[in-house]
Amino acid sequence: MAIIATSARILIVDDEPMLADTLAIIFRRAGYDATAVYSGEEALALVEAQEPSLIVSDVIMPGLTGVALAQKIRTSHPNCRVLLFSGNAETYELVEAARREGHAFDVLAKPIPPPVMLAKVASLLEQNREL
């Protein structure tokens, strides 16, 4: 497992609290400063205060969807990376629509084995630092 030298801040968004919480624990155990929230709106509110390096968000959620959240974040906090993950096919529609508006996002399909998720996050944060 990769050893994270600096404690990057990660915000986890999923309308299933158990999912979000367990993922936060996994991130924290991996050495990240991870916080879980359960809606897009909550996440948006927290971004201002925490300024995370990365947001890992579900896509289909009541209220603000992951794609909408990502688009907003990308405008307001260009340094914050967004990783979407979804278990639902409707995701495609949203992601495709965003892509047409010029916003391309990576979407991981649930379920994602935690080691895979951790590797992906590590690589994204690595890129971020290089930038």
Partner: protein
């Protein structure tokens, strides 16, 4: 002209030259003596060599002068002869004593005196001179001489030396030479070939024309050998050919214009005109001169003309033959004879073009030398080897066709050997034409190559045209006779038929007047035939409607008006002359002439009774029923209510796979499925209501197979002992229904599976988190970790199943124009790591294709499914090919083909049918059995088609064809 000239003229010329040289020598000698260049000289003569010394020796000079063969004299300056030798005296025939002392000019002929004086004066002036003049002898005869005068430079008075050479002999010889030259040049320039033979017939002189004629130089050869000439005596056709003999001719009288033939060694034949004359010498005949004039061309022209004349005669003769001929065979034979006899051709035959498969030309007549040639022929008019000779060509083209030389014509090959055997050298085929088509040909053979001149061909063509016309006429005449005979025969036949048939026949003319009654008609109408003739048909053939008692419509009038066959109305009765009322039926028809004009009406009728009518009706109804029964697509059984089958139609036989007899034997007991309990109920219903509608019952076929049929059955209302059973085989329909049901089941199972997959993704993710956390928790005992490992593995399997099922983007309905190549490349990128890890090589081949209208995610899924199947199928280090190329779908729609092929395990044939069914998998652990099912669903949705070819152990090829332009309504 002296005759034997040329032989001698050469010798004469030689002698002449010698004389001139001798004279010159003498003059030179005299000059030398005079000028003192010579002191002595030796003169050779009959007395041996004599030596003269000249130094002032008068005697010596004299002796010399005397010894000369020339006349010589010494003249004084005034022309007096001082001295003269004997030779000069002899020459002029005047004694020496007389000459000496006389004037030299006395010796000269009067006409030459002036010349002599001039010569003398010149010589006196120191200018030596010489000339030819004539002297005069004692008899006043002239003697041509050559005179030379020169001044003598001696002591004392001036004197002149005169030398006289006798030219009499020279002159004569010159003349001979001139004549010889003339003869030579005449000989050389003559166009005629000329040969001179000696008395033994050997050629001793020729000219160029003769050498050309021979083709070689025949000089000093025996004439007969060098030029073997043939003399023909008598007429052309009956002539006797003899060999010319020079020996017999040599002493014969001169001949003029004898026609001879000559064949040169190279085969070229000449006609020549021979003239010859004796050459006589003093001792008699010494040879013969022969002149040959080439008249080949003239002769050819004459021959041609003669042939044309003969051909003309043949045309005339054949005209007569045409007029005389009564049968085709004699005509053909006669014409063949005429052509051979009049035209002198070797053989003539006539062949007719048969309309059979090999297009044979059948010989029908011939004349002349034949000897089974025709039997060896095998001539056709087909466009093949045997039809490209003159005969076949003439028939095919309708034009005369000539074979100029049978020996060399390549098209004559099939018949050459036989033709040459009989001495045929050329042939001509003339088509026999009728209405622009050749129906045969006349073929003429000649013993000479290129025997047919254009004039002759034209005349013979005319003859063949006449012959063709004659044949047509004869055939027409024969056909007319046959037709007349047939007509007579038919008339007789008709008369007999009409009088003997059982029906009554009445005929009328166009005015409705009776022209004919047959015996039955006279019996029914009561009119005698004679009596009825010319009567209005209505009074002879009175008919009424039996029921209304009114006159029935005039059937004859109707036929005349409608010009078609008219049947009598029902219930018609004939009122006979004697008052009987006879029910009749039948019809009337127009009588038409050849041009289709109505020339009368014939009415055919017979007596009918009611019973007969009923029988007719029944038979008709039965026929109708039978037709219906036989042709019904449904199986029909005619049976009794208690289950006996009386008849089965062809459809029933086909349904049961049994013959009608077998079905009847089996009966209902043997046909019905004994396990089907519905029969009893059906039976009951039919007994109660008299009919059974659309009952489904099970039956058993001849081969024991069970099947369900829909049955309609009725008990016939009029006859309660008969039932009709109509059956329709439901096997196919049942099968179709079952298949549909199965499809629907499969579809709903698939839908459910994918819904479930969606729903369990989030719980799976959470479980994954839990397991991971437990795994990575330092407090977890090692044994628990083992179980967690197991859970992780199983989780991975569930994940794989949902991925396969889910079609992550499956529910997306948005189709866009996507680049298939790009899409495939995307997927390949995703698979890159795994492919590399397993050492699988990917071979891509993309041809330029247009974008397809499709849902990108779904296409990605298809490609993923096919690729992962291929990866599973190939062993490590295998090979997977991906191809994209333009294609055409059914109905000509432009399309794009995607092919994924692997070198893997392949699919067994029995599995191949099931691979697109859901939950069918050949991969025990990793397979979900959904990949290809999903793929098929997506393919169908896109209006595409998917095909698979596979060979166990070799690999599989999946190819999907996407339509290009077609907008899929479900997609848009």
């Amino acid at each position: 002209m002296p005759e034997p000239i040329s032989v001698e003229s050469n010798d004469v010329a030689r002698e002449n030259e010698a004389l001139r040289a001798q004279l010159a020598e003498a003059q030179e000698l005299i000059r030398a003596i005079q000028s003192g260049d010579v002191d002595a000289l030796v003169v050779s003569g009959p007395q041996g060599d004599q030596v003269f010394t000249l130094k002032g020796a008068e005697y010596a000079y004299r002796a010399l002068v005397e010894a000369m063969n020339e006349g010589a004299a010494t003249l004084s300056a005034d022309g007096i002869v001082l001295y003269c030798n004997q030779r000069l005296s002899d020459l002029v025939g005047i004694p020496l004593e007389q000459i000496i002392g006389s004037r030299a000019s006395e010796l000269v002929a009067d006409e030459a005196k002036h010349t002599f004086h001039t010569l003398f004066a010149h010589a006196l002036g120191g200018d030596a001179a010489k000339t030819e003049i004539e002297l005069r002898n004692a008899d006043a005869q002239r003697i041509p001489v050559y005179v030379s005068l020169r001044e003598m430079k001696a002591d004392g008075p001036t004197s002149l030396c005169m030398v006289v050479t006798d030219l009499t002999e020279h002159k004569r010889r010159d003349e001979i030479i001139a004549a010889g030259k003339l003869a030579n040049s005449i000989l050389e320039s003559a166009a005629e070939a000329i040969a001179l033979c000696d008395e033994n017939g050997k050629i001793i002189k020729i000219n160029e024309a003769l050498e050309n004629l021979c083709g070689f130089n025949p000089l000093f050869q025996q004439f007969d050998h060098a030029l073997p000439l043939q003399v023909t005596t008598g007429t052309v056709s009956g002539g006797v050919v003899q060999q010319f003999s020079i020996a017999d001719t040599i002493a014969a009288a001169n001949q003029r214009g004898v026609e001879v033939g000559f064949r040169r060694k190279d085969g070229h034949a000449f006609s020549l005109l021979l003239s010859s004359g004796r050459i006589e010498g003093s001792s008699g005949v010494v040879g013969r001169v022969l002149t040959l004039t080439d008249i080949t061309e003239r002769k050819q022209a004459e021959d041609d003309l003669q042939k044309v004349n003969r051909t003309l005669k043949a045309v005339g003769a054949s005209h007569k033959a045409l007029l005389r001929a009564t049968t085709e065979k004699t005509l053909l034979q006669e014409v063949c004879g005429i052509i051979t006899q009049n035209c002198g051709h070797a053989m003539v035959w006539i062949g007719f073009a048969e309309q059979d498969e090999p297009k044979t030309v059948r010989p029908v007549a011939h004349a002349g030398f034949e000897e089974e040639y025709l039997e060896t022929l095998r001539v056709t008019w087909a466009d093949n080897e045997f039809g490209r000779g003159p005969t076949g060509m003439a028939i095919r083209t309708g034009e005369p066709c000539v074979c100029r030389n049978i020996l060399t014509d390549p098209f004559f090959e099939p018949w050459r050997t036989e033709a040459l055997k009989r001495g045929y050298a050329s042939s001509l085929a003339l088509p026999l034409m009728e209405d622009g088509e050749a129906f045969g040909a006349i073929i003429i053979y000649s013993r000479k190559p290129d025997a047919f001149s254009q004039d002759e061909i034209e005349l013979l063509a005319e003859l063949s045209a006449d012959l063709a016309y004659g044949i047509s006429t004869l055939r027409m005449r024969a056909a007319r006779e046959r037709a007349e005979q047939e007509l007579r025969h038919n008339q007789e036949w008709l008369r007999v038929t009409l009088t003997s048939i059982g029906d009554a026949v009445l005929a009328s003319d166009v005015n409705g007047r009776v022209t004919f009654l047959n015996p039955v008609a006279t019996e029914l109408t009561g009119w005698e035939s004679d009596e009825a003739q010319g009567q209005p048909s209505l009074s002879v053939f009175q008919i009424i409607n039996e029921q209304t008692r009114e006159a029935a419509p005039d059937i004859i009038e109707r036929v005349l008006k409608e010009k078609c066959i008219v049947a009598l109305e029902n219930h018609t009765a004939l009122l006979s002359k004697d008052g009987r009322e006879i029910p009749i039926e039948d019809s009337a028809a127009p009588i038409l002439d050849r041009a289709g004009n109505i020339i009368g009406v014939v009415v055919v009728f017979h007596e009918v009774t009611e019973k007969r009518r009923a029988q007719e009706a029944l038979r008709e109804s039965e026929q109708r029923f039978r037709a219906l029964f036989d042709n019904s697509p449904d199986a029909v059984l005619l049976s009794t209510p208690d289950g006996h089958v009386l008849a089965a139609n062809p459809a029933a036989c086909a349904m049961f796979g049994m013959s009608e007899a077998d079905i009847c034997r089996a009966g209902r007991q043997g046909l019905a499925d004994p396990q089907d309990s519905r029969f009893a109920a059906a039976h009951e219903e039919r007994l109660k209501t008299g009919r059974l509608v659309k009952a489904e019952l099970n039956f058993i076929r001849g081969n024991g197979q069970r099947f369900t049929a829909e049955v309609d059955s009725i008990i016939l209302p009029g006859s309660p002992t008969r039932t009709f059973v109509i059956m329709r085989d439901l096997t196919d329909r049942k099968r179709a229904e079952q298949a549909m049901l199965q499809n629907e089941k499969l579809a709903s199972v698939g839908r459910m599976a994918s819904t479930i997959a969606h729903e369990i993704n989030n719980p799976l993710e959470t479980i994954g988190h839990g397991v991971y956390l437990a795994m990575t928790d330092p407090g977890t005992p090692p044994e628990a970790k083992k179980y967690l490992d197991m859970a992780t593995q199983e989780l991975e399997r569930v994940t794989h199943i949902t991925r396969q099922t889910l079609a992550f983007h499956r529910e997306s309905k948005t189709a866009t124009l996507i680049d298939l190549c790009e899409t495939v490349d995307d997927v390949l990128k995703l698979f890159g790591g795994r492919l590399k890890a397993r050492g699988i090589s990917i071979h891509k081949r993309y041809a330029g294709v247009e974008s397809i209208n499709a849902v990108g995610g779904e296409i990605r899924q298809i490609v993923s499914n096919l690729l992962s199947n291929s990866m599973d199928a190939v062993a490590n280090g295998g090979r997977v090919s991906v191809r994209i190329s333009p294609s055409i779908m059914n109905g000509g729609v432009s399309a794009v083909r995607l092919t994924v092929a692997d070198t893997g395990l392949g699919i067994r044939p029995e599995q191949l049918q099931k691979i697109f069914e859901p939950f069918f998998t050949t991969k025990d652990v990793v397979g979900t059995g959904l990949g290809l099912w999903v793929t098929k669903q997506i393919v169908d949705k896109h209006g595409a088609t998917i095909r698979v070819r596979s060979k166990p152990g070799k690999g599989s090829v999946f190819s999907i064809v996407f339509p290009l332009s077609q907008e899929n309504p479900e997609l848009t």
